[in-house]
């Protein structure tokens, strides 16, 4: 059943969000700490486990695959509702701060990626 996959996906997101919210509460901040990341881990674990086979194979897999294929359209809709006007009117300070943070972070990607692969060789 296609809906089994969708239901598994929903369960993973809800559990992840609950865990993320609880983690935020435990740390004393009003934010969801990694809820989506935890949900993704739950989905990875269940899709790699034989116990969840009926929920992750056949038609059920298509139910998850549909949402995965809707990812880019949803991201386009997300881009279309960003507050671009506010970003553009934030003045020079906001633009310089944002651009500088991105440029420095981009530059760090190859450096930290190397750190990861070196750790792997050891």
């Amino acid at each position: 059943m296609l809906v089994y996959g969708v239901a598994l996906l929903s369960a993973c997101l809800l559990l992840g969000m609950l865990a993320g919210q609880a983690l935020g509460l435990a740390l004393g901040i009003d934010a969801n700490v990694g809820g989506v990341g935890i949900a993704m881990l739950l989905l990875v674990i269940s899709s790699n486990s034989p116990r969840f086979k009926t929920l992750t194979s056949g038609a059920a897999a298509q139910g998850i695959g549909f949402w995965s294929a809707m990812y880019i359209p949803i991201v386009v809709a997300m881009a279309a509702q960003q507050n671009v006007a506010a970003a553009a009117s934030g003045g020079l300070l906001a633009v310089v701060a944002g651009v500088a943070a991105v440029v420095v972070s981009f530059a760090l990607v190859p450096i930290l990626s190397r750190l990861g692969s070196r750790g792997d060789d050891a």
Partner: protein, 253 residues
């Protein structure tokens, strides 16, 4: 006639969004194929069109939700809102191998902390360069360079003024939009072509929307890896901003 269309479209706003976004993506892939001969990815063009539309919507309506503030297109707000976005992001993890995640696990965690601290320091330095000397304002603007959520959370926690908080949100928005547009352009030169570098990338950039759109326009296969680390970033930022980072800034200024 106009009333009839308005009534039907507003009552079925999510369906309108599916149709409009579908047409936008068709147009984008057409442009990518015919005008750039496939050099620029169709989804990169679609995201750029979305941002242009968002700018236009924001200027016309004066609202904060881009094109979604235009009545007939309100469904785009639901389609691209947090709920469906997170649902779709999680679905991309289907089929990911646990081994790939473990391989980059440590580098991923390091990159989250490095990303928050580096963006904060850069943002704070820019604030100082623009003449700010008040540690509260410097911290808030630095936190805004982390993400547009960390900025106001930090600012409100340490008692920043409204216009400084607004400035921090604007800095975070600039960052997020630049990551969306810039990622496909720099992907090759920063080695963003495997799960490991995608996890590091997500941890360093941290803006969920920026990473989600940037990786989608670069290589959709990398999305789950980048999104996984990026979702921890804002939480870590909210944790460090009003505490350790603020104390450090206060000690210097």
């Amino acid at each position: 006639m106009i009333d009839l269309i308005t009534a039907v479209f507003t009552r079925n706003s999510l369906i309108v969004a599916f149709a409009v976004i579908g047409a936008t993506i068709w147009l984008s892939y057409f442009i990518a194929d015919k005008l750039t001969a496939g050099r620029i990815h169709g989804s990169a063009i679609a995201i750029a069109l979305g941002l242009v539309a968002a700018y236009w919507g924001g200027t016309v309506t004066g609202g904060t939700k881009g094109i979604a503030d235009i009545g007939l297109l309100g469904g785009i707000g639901l389609m691209g809102g947090g709920m469906l976005r997170d649902f779709a992001i999680v679905s991309t993890a289907f089929g990911v191998q646990l081994g790939e995640l473990k391989k980059a696990g440590l580098a991923g965690v390091v990159s989250i902390f490095a990303g928050v601290i580096v963006s904060f320091v850069v943002g704070a330095a820019v604030a100082v360069a623009f003449g700010y000397t008040d540690p509260i304002a410097i911290t808030t603007i630095g936190a805004g360079a982390v993400t547009y959520i960390v900025g106001p959370v930090t600012g409100e926690a340490i008692g920043a003024s409204g216009d400084v908080i607004t400035l921090s949100v604007a800095a975070g928005l600039v960052k997020s939009i630049l990551v969306m547009i810039g990622t496909p352009l720099v992907a090759r030169s920063i080695g963003l072509n495997n799960p490991q570098s995608a996890m590091v990338f997500g941890g360093l950039m941290g803006t969920t929307s920026g990473v989600a759109a940037g990786l989608a326009a670069t290589d959709p296969k990398l999305v789950p890896y980048g999104a996984m680390t990026a979702t921890f970033y804002t939480g870590v930022g909210c944790l460090l901003g009003p505490s350790i980072l603020y104390f450090c800034v206060s000690a210097v200024f």
